[in-house]
């Protein structure tokens, strides 16, 4: 089991910190879309860039860069992965 302090929202994750995706608080259709883009539970994720003025986040999932709006990232839980947890 993960302890509470390792679970946070994706938009709170620091740049370069390895983590794994958890549950999403999004509508079923949105959850399906995100999962199809490769954002499934347990997938390693890294925030590669935070744009200024509250703009989108740039993340790397499955070797691919995605841009994600903050208000979406806020609804995705992540778990900090132990070091060395980058890409599978």
């Amino acid at each position: 089991m993960q302890t509470a302090d390792t679970t946070l929202q994706l938009d709170g994750l620091g740049v370069g910190q390895p983590a794994r995706l958890g549950a999403m608080v999004l509508s079923p259709a949105e959850q399906q879309r995100m999962a199809e883009m490769g954002l499934t539970a347990g997938t390693p994720v890294v925030v590669t860039k935070r744009s200024h003025w509250g703009g989108p986040l740039e993340i790397r999932v499955r070797g691919c860069k995605l841009s994600l709006r903050r208000n979406v990232a806020r609804h995705i839980a992540v778990t900090r992965a132990p070091e060395g947890g980058g890409r599978d």
């Binding site: 079923p28 259709a29 999962a35 499934t40 989108p56 860069k65 995605l66 841009s67």
Partner: protein, 699 residues
């Protein structure tokens, strides 16, 4: 139309997989672009001759991430692949294009397609990018895992096409159905069994495709509203609900179920299929560091935009002049060959002047298409969106709306077509609705004529030309109006979140000249086709309106005044007087409905000056300045001139744009809505200005 005996092969793949390069490489120039009936999705078809199978027809499907139909593109892909599109025969085989350097994600779509149980072939593209990013893909291993043939390719360098043709030929000679890569565990297959059986019984799926199809229906919240399943809504609804409830009870999250199963399978095969030697992403990351930087990124964007516009207005000028001269010569020729009379007038004043007036913009439009293609093909669009998303979303626009809106400064036609890159239908519609408010190049002749007539050539503070200031103000007003209306539409008519959730930032790629020219030509051809049909028709209509009924020589009124257009101007006068416009301005407005710059030549006809060169308007301006009202004061006062310009800032006065909006939105109602809101706003603004000016004595 479609020759049924020719085998059809569908080409499918993710966006950015190089699908179009492969399609173009296979079919060469033997291509045809049309639209899928009822939707705005472009249908690309091409012919190909294989040594054994002979002629086949290749269909390039829109690039999608998933087979689950939510957007129009996905709907088309889904329907064609499933053999549900009534206009297209069931594909004999499916060619799936994968980016070899991006297998982690691209295998998802491939695995979905394999679940359809149709003969399938994989083109494993971008093997060069694989090598560059330090990935080693074992093609034979991948083929074994997928259960179908895999052809490694680097389509951008023309590598692998022979092998692909041979493989396709062999597949068509002995078509073996593919099999789903994922076997459903009992905990899922159980709840799905009833739905799968029902699908088979209703002929909605084959024995091979039923489990995968059932899974997709369960995972997609709105699946039963799809046209294909709607008739079966009642019998299926409770089965679907039941299955979802069972899955939920088993602790499974049904919306993500299919993706989780397929990605789990991908993760399980990848270690065998690929070795990572190093992770070399540094190049793209370094570029992104600058191009999405809040300061340097904006600076880079400004440079790109200025260069683009400089080039468009610079490079397009000579060919635009040639086209104008060409049509001038053509008109002269017709005058010589065809005896004077109505036929001659129809040809010269109607057809040649009308179509020529629109075609004159073709060089600008082609260049715009070219620049848009470069920006899109290189992967820069996604970076612009990233950079501007926050700012633009405040106004209800998507970050990707920037290029369409900016292009509209030259011409709304390519701008509106460029809005296709916005995947969310609502975001795209808002962009299309406000794009024509940007100051397109057809507005300039109108502004230049009027500003030159009514605005004195004084310098403000000794250095700022007043005329330039007024013109700048008009451009700014267009931008502000676009922002305000976009915001308004988002808050009212097209409410709801902008649902583009995650946007791919594809690796940067150097665009290939052939691809760029291809895109430019294809889009321009589409515009030309419209110019040859609808715009031609409108030109003839405008000619009829301005020529008939035949003038009565005994009357003092000019022929234009007696024409239908003149009568229309008169009829409209009650609506125009409160704006400070008279029936003559009304005629110019009615006639410039075909294209805004026609205003200038109409004013020339009405006021009797012969304007042959719209760049030399001095003659007409003198005429206009001398025009007196009933009290003997100058008719074209500064405020009246400004009010006409204000009308042109907002009003929808462009048939070409309306034709394109009809095409791109697929609905006449949006064309009418756009016309109504733009022209309505123009009328209200001009009314307010003219009425408020009276008590202030500014008229």
């Amino acid at each position: 139309m479609i020759e049924e005996h020719i085998p059809h092969v569908a080409v499918a793949g993710n966006p950015n997989s190089g699908k179009s390069t492969i399609f173009n490489g296979l079919t060469g120039l033997r291509q045809k672009v049309s639209n899928y009936p009822g939707v705005t999705v472009e249908k690309h078809g091409g012919a190909l001759t294989l040594p054994r199978t002979g002629d086949i027809h290749l269909m390039d499907l829109p690039g999608t991430y998933s087979l689950n139909p939510r957007s129009l593109d996905e709907q088309v892909t889904h329907d064609v692949l499933m053999g549900l599109d009534e206009d297209v025969p069931v594909p004999r085989a499916i060619l799936v294009v994968l980016d070899a350097s991006n297998l982690d994600r691209h295998l998802f779509f491939a695995s979905q397609i394999l679940s359809l149980g149709r003969p399938t072939l994989i083109a494993l593209n971008m093997m060069d990018a694989c090598a560059k990013t330090g990935q080693l893909v074992r093609v034979d291993q991948l083929a074994r895992r997928l259960g179908v043939r895999v052809v490694p390719m680097t389509a951008s360098q023309g590598l692998g096409f022979d092998e692909l043709r041979t493989a396709l030929d062999e597949l068509l000679q002995s078509p073996l159905p593919a099999r789903d890569t994922v076997e459903l565990p009992l905990s899922i297959a159980g709840p799905l069994a009833e739905l799968a059986t029902l699908l088979r019984d209703h002929d909605l799926a084959t024995a091979a495709s039923a489990p995968g199809e059932a899974l997709r229906i369960i995972c997609t919240p709105t699946s039963l509203d799809m046209p294909r399943l709607k008739p079966w809504h009642a019998p299926l609804a409770h089965v679907v609900e039941d299955a979802r409830a069972q899955l939920t009870a088993a602790g499974l999250n049904w919306p993500t179920l299919e993706a989780e199963l397929r990605y789990r399978w991908i993760d399980s095969i990848l270690p065998d299929v690929r070795t990572l030697q190093q992770t070399a992403q540094a190049h793209a990351d370094r570029l992104d560091h600058w191009l999405t930087h809040p300061v340097w990124g904006l600076a880079a964007l400004a440079v790109v935009v200025v260069a683009m516009f400089g080039a468009i207005f610079w490079l397009a000028r000579p060919p635009m002049d040639w086209i104008k001269e060409l049509f001038g010569l053509l008109a002269e020729l017709v005058t010589k060959v065809v005896p004077p009379g109505q036929i001659q007038s129809l040809l010269t004043d109607g057809v040649i002047a009308g179509v020529g007036g629109v075609l004159m913009f073709l060089p600008q439009i082609m260049l715009l298409f070219l620049f848009i293609a470069i920006i899109e093909d290189s992967g820069y669009t996604a970076r612009i969106a990233f950079l501007l998303d926050r700012l633009m979303s405040k106004f209800g626009l998507h970050g990707k709306a920037f290029i369409p809106l900016f292009s509209s400064f030259a011409c709304a036609v390519p701008g509106i077509m460029a809005a296709r890159t916005i995947d969310n239908a609502r975001d795209r519609l808002i962009t299309i609705l406000v794009a024509p408010l940007m100051c397109c190049s057809a507005r300039w002749p109108v502004y230049l004529l009027l500003a030159g007539t009514v605005i004195p050539t004084t310098l403000l503070f000794g250095f700022l030309p007043l005329q330039a200031l007024v013109l700048g103000g008009l451009v700014l007003l267009g931008i502000l109006a676009a922002i305000a209306f976009a915001w308004g539409f988002r808050k009212t008519l097209l409410r709801g979140p902008s649902t583009t959730l995650a946007q791919e930032l594809p690796p940067y790629r150097l665009p290939r000249a052939r691809t760029l020219l291809h895109i430019m030509w294809e889009r321009s051809a589409l515009f030309l086709k419209k110019a040859g049909t609808v715009i031609l028709l409108m030109s003839v209509l405008m000619w009829v309106l301005t020529t008939y009924p035949q003038p009565d020589k005994s009357k003092t009124a000019s022929p234009l005044e007696q024409s239908f257009a003149g009568q229309l101007g008169r009829t409209l006068e009650p609506a125009l007087t409160p704006l400070g416009f008279d029936w003559r301005i009304g005629i110019a407005m009615v006639s410039s409905f075909a294209a805004r710059e026609v205003f200038v030549s109409s004013m020339a006809t009405i006021y009797g000056a012969q304007v042959t060169d719209p760049h030399n308007m001095a003659d007409l301006q003198t005429h206009l300045a001398a025009e007196k009202d009933t009290e003997g004061k100058p008719f074209f006062t500064p405020l009246r001139g400004i009010n006409i310009m204000l009308f042109y800032v907002l009003a929808m006065q462009c048939v070409s744009t309306m034709v394109v909006v009809r095409r791109e939105t697929g609905a006449m109602k949006w064309v009418l809505f756009q016309w109504a809101y733009m022209t309505g706003a123009a009328w209200l603004l001009c009314f307010a200005v003219w009425q408020l000016a009276a008590p202030l004595g500014w008229r």
